[in-house]
């Protein structure tokens, strides 16, 4: 392979801007362009667009679920439909909203941050997107074809981690589970190839002077994420292959009558499932690590510790999976080991939180919308981490496993943490992607409505868990003291929906007639703000040699450059 950086600089100087023949005259030309594109920015848009599509679908399911359990003895959905709805909600949100959103952000931002022309393998990149996307489409086709020839079953309904005996032919005679396993298998292939691609890009295509220790933190965290993806997606694929073999060819992996073990499925699923949480949350940390310094007007506090903590999280996340399984009857050594590992992983996460606070401390904080979401993130992620430690105590977990406390905990992680970080990243990078600012007034409204809705939805669920409400029940009797809290929670869910609609309205209206952003509206320091907004197809005309972690600061302040102090 030729030295990539030299190719990059050649392209920067020799390519003429705006290659001819790319005018999108008609709708068909536009669609053709999207389908055949191998450009990392357009693929990033495609990923993000598909992710929002699945977000809306998953969100509608969430509203259905909340409406069903808002009042006792409700019969809006029957039990089977309810099971299908929770399964599809979980699967869609994790695999097709959060994963695609992560890949979308990384696709768009990482090559720009490291000063690359494109991803290492642009065509593989397109393949990854379409594989993931069609995996999702395939999953949703189960609504049409799931009943199979005998008309049994509809959507996959074995919950998002598809517990073993439920998925066997005897209990799921239709085709629904097959749609689930094959859809995830296909999208898993897309994720793995995507992971390899991003990793190679980061290792081989950094611009001149950008050593690993000068990489922006978002890129660092993406790198660790990709490691986790290529290490821990395959166990899921392997387990899915076993499931397919079992359902189509009568293999006996998880069948207790033949001596197989349903618990093994849980192990395999969670070996993937727990690192998956970190696959999703590390890029979210990355966004926060970019936004907090820029809006506090200080460089990130403790950069080496941030990197070390990230790598530590990556390693430890491989050894905590069975804390999802304290109630299956493990021996006391395993329980102790996994409880201990769970406490240990809280340490690097705590380091990160302190470093973000250290960055804000004494800084000149600008309360723009991205920063609002960051502050809410810090607050909510802290609580999510604390409830996580509570659940990591095995005896506490025996009491509260599979209750609404668990639901509240992981929604705090995924909505309060990841979704808030995604919103923050959107308000931060939207000007770069489209050339126009997102409207600040509407954004502030979005923030407050969504945050209020979030707390109204998930705070009461902690208490529902303490009051003994189990998860996955489709209705309950009166007089258990759950009515009021459930009603609050449902109202909160609809408030969140209003917030999300405000956001979508903001995106559409701002993309068309928002304030023109300029190259660098936030006065930021990483390379993506050097090029025009939106970036041209070749990304950069010229790049300076990177000599510190904040190359743009060096350019703007030649009298006081960073590299003097590193």
């Amino acid at each position: 392979m030729a030295d990539p950086t030299s190719t990059l600089r050649e392209i920067g100087t020799e390519l003429k801007p705006a290659p001819p023949g790319h005018e999108h005259g008609s709708l068909t030309a536009w669609i053709q362009d999207l389908v055949f594109t191998v450009d990392h920015k357009k693929l990033g848009f495609l990923y993000i667009g598909a992710a929002w599509l699945f977000f809306v679908l998953g969100g509608i399911m969430a509203l259905l679920i909340r409406t069903q359990i808002a009042v006792p003895n409700n019969h809006l959905l029957d039990g089977e439909t309810f099971n299908g709805t929770i399964t599809m909600h979980g699967t869609t949100m994790i695999f097709f909203f959060a994963m695609m959103m992560v890949f979308g952000l990384i696709n768009f931002i990482v090559p720009l941050q490291i000063g690359a022309r494109d991803m290492a393998f642009p065509r593989l990149n397109a393949f990854s997107f379409w594989a993931t996307f069609f995996g999702g489409v395939f999953l949703f086709l189960s609504y049409i074809f799931g009943p199979g020839l005998y008309g049994m079953g509809a959507a996959p309904d074995a919950s998002w981690f598809a517990l073993a005996p439920l998925t066997s032919r005897a209990f799921s005679p239709g085709n629904n589970i097959d749609f689930w396993s094959l859809g995830l298998l296909v999208s898993g292939v897309g994720s793995i190839t995507g992971g390899v691609n991003v990793m190679v890009t980061i290792f081989c295509y950094r611009t001149k002077g950008m050593t690993l220790y000068r990489m922006p933190l978002f890129t660092w965290l993406s790198l660790v994420t990709m490691f986790l993806i290529i290490m821990f997606m395959p166990p899921l694929s392997a387990a899915q292959i076993m499931l397919v073999l079992e359902r189509f060819f009568g293999a006996k992996f998880f069948e207790a009558q033949a001596g197989g073990s349903p618990v093994l499925w849980q192990h395999f699923f969670w070996i993937f499932g727990h690192p998956e949480v970190y696959i999703l949350v590390l890029p979210a940390f990355g966004v926060i690590s970019e936004v907090v310094p820029v809006f506090s007007r200080k460089p990130i506090f403790g950069y080496p510790m941030m990197v070390a903590a990230t790598v530590m999280i990556g390693f430890i996340s491989a050894g905590v999976w069975a804390h999802h399984m304290f109630t299956i009857g493990m021996d006391s050594f395993s329980v102790t080991f996994f409880a201990f590992a769970t406490f240990v992983i809280a340490i690097p996460t705590g380091i990160k939180i302190f470093n973000w606070l250290g960055t804000m401390y004494g800084g000149k904080i600008r309360l723009e919308v991205p920063m609002l979401f960051c502050i809410a993130f810090l607050f909510q992620f802290l609580i999510a981490g604390l409830t996580g430690i509570m659940l990591g105590c095995a005896p506490f977990d025996w009491q509260l496993n599979d209750s609404y406390f668990v639901i509240a905990h992981f929604h705090y992680v995924i909505v309060g943490g990841i979704v808030f970080a995604v919103f923050s990243g959107f308000y931060y990078w939207f000007p770069k992607a489209t050339g126009r600012m997102l409207d600040k007034r509407l954004g502030t409204w979005h923030f407050w409505v969504f945050t209020l809705g979030f707390h109204l939805t998930f705070d009461p669920q902690h208490f529902l868990g303490f009051l003994g409400m189990p998860r996955r029940i489709y209705t309950y009797q009166e007089g258990r003291g759950w009515e009021f809290l459930n009603m609050l929670s449902t109202i909160g869910a609809f408030l969140q929906a209003v917030g999300a609609i405000l956001f979508i309205v903001n995106m559409i209206s701002s993309a068309r007639k928002g304030k023109i952003a300029g190259d660098d509206p936030w006065d930021a320091w990483t390379l993506e703000w050097m090029t025009s907004s939106p970036p041209p197809e070749y990304n950069f005309e010229q790049l300076p040699e990177v000599r510190s972690r904040r190359p743009l600061w060096d350019l703007k302040h030649p009298e006081d450059p960073d590299w003097k102090f590193e």
Binding site: M1, I192, V196, I230, M231, F232, M233, P234, P235, S237, A238, A239, I241, M242, L245, E246, F249, G250, A251, K252, F253, A258, G259, G260, S261, L264, F268, I271
Partner: protein, 173 residues
């Protein structure tokens, strides 16, 4: 990529080890398995021949490269044929299939996964051979050839694990 594949294989190996000796009905491994001397010989020696082929290419000896490359491909093919006959006898003679018992499920999925990788390797080897015979491979391609040879070594290394787990450990149960 090799990391990913290793991770994938690990899960199947774990499943095999986890279920070893847990089948509730015969046939059991010690009754039906025979140590695959011939197959292992074919596959392990092919790792050597692929190195020889690479060596020839680096020196610019194209005919030598093609010869050793062909031998590698033939050895791979011989391995697949060996596995085929082994499976044939297991299925029709011993009545062991994927759905017979846990041993059947784990045995066929693990060995089958490996065999499918050999097959992919074989296709790659053949493509390179065709490209070379039609004159499209030059010594400067040797980096790309090296990738394929790495893959082949990896498949070989996995076979060492599979032999240990399936045959050496498995036959005692």
């Amino acid at each position: 990529m090799i990391l990913t594949e290793s991770s994938l294989f690990t899960i199947f190996v774990v499943a095999y080890l986890f279920y070893i000796g847990k089948s509730l009905n015969p046939p059991y491994p010690w009754q039906v398995l025979e140590f695959p001397w011939l197959g292992s010989l074919f596959l392990f020696s092919s790792s050597g021949t692929v190195v020889a082929a690479e060596h020839k290419l680096k020196k610019g000896d194209k005919a030598g490269f093609e010869l050793w490359w062909l031998i590698t491909a033939l050895l791979g093919l011989a391995f697949l044929i060996y596995t085929g006959t082994e499976w044939y006898s297991l299925i029709y003679h011993d009545g062991l299939t994927l759905s017979t018992n846990l041993f059947g499920s784990t045995f066929y999925s693990l060995v089958g996964l490996h065999a499918s990788h050999v097959l992919v390797g074989l296709i790659l080897l053949t493509l390179i051979l065709v490209a070379s015979v039609t004159g499209n491979i030059k010594p400067r391609h040797h980096e790309h050839i090296e990738m394929i040879s790495w893959y082949w070594h990896f498949v070989d290394g996995i076979w060492a694990v599979v032999v240990t787990v399936v045959y050496i450990i498995g036959m005692q149960h």
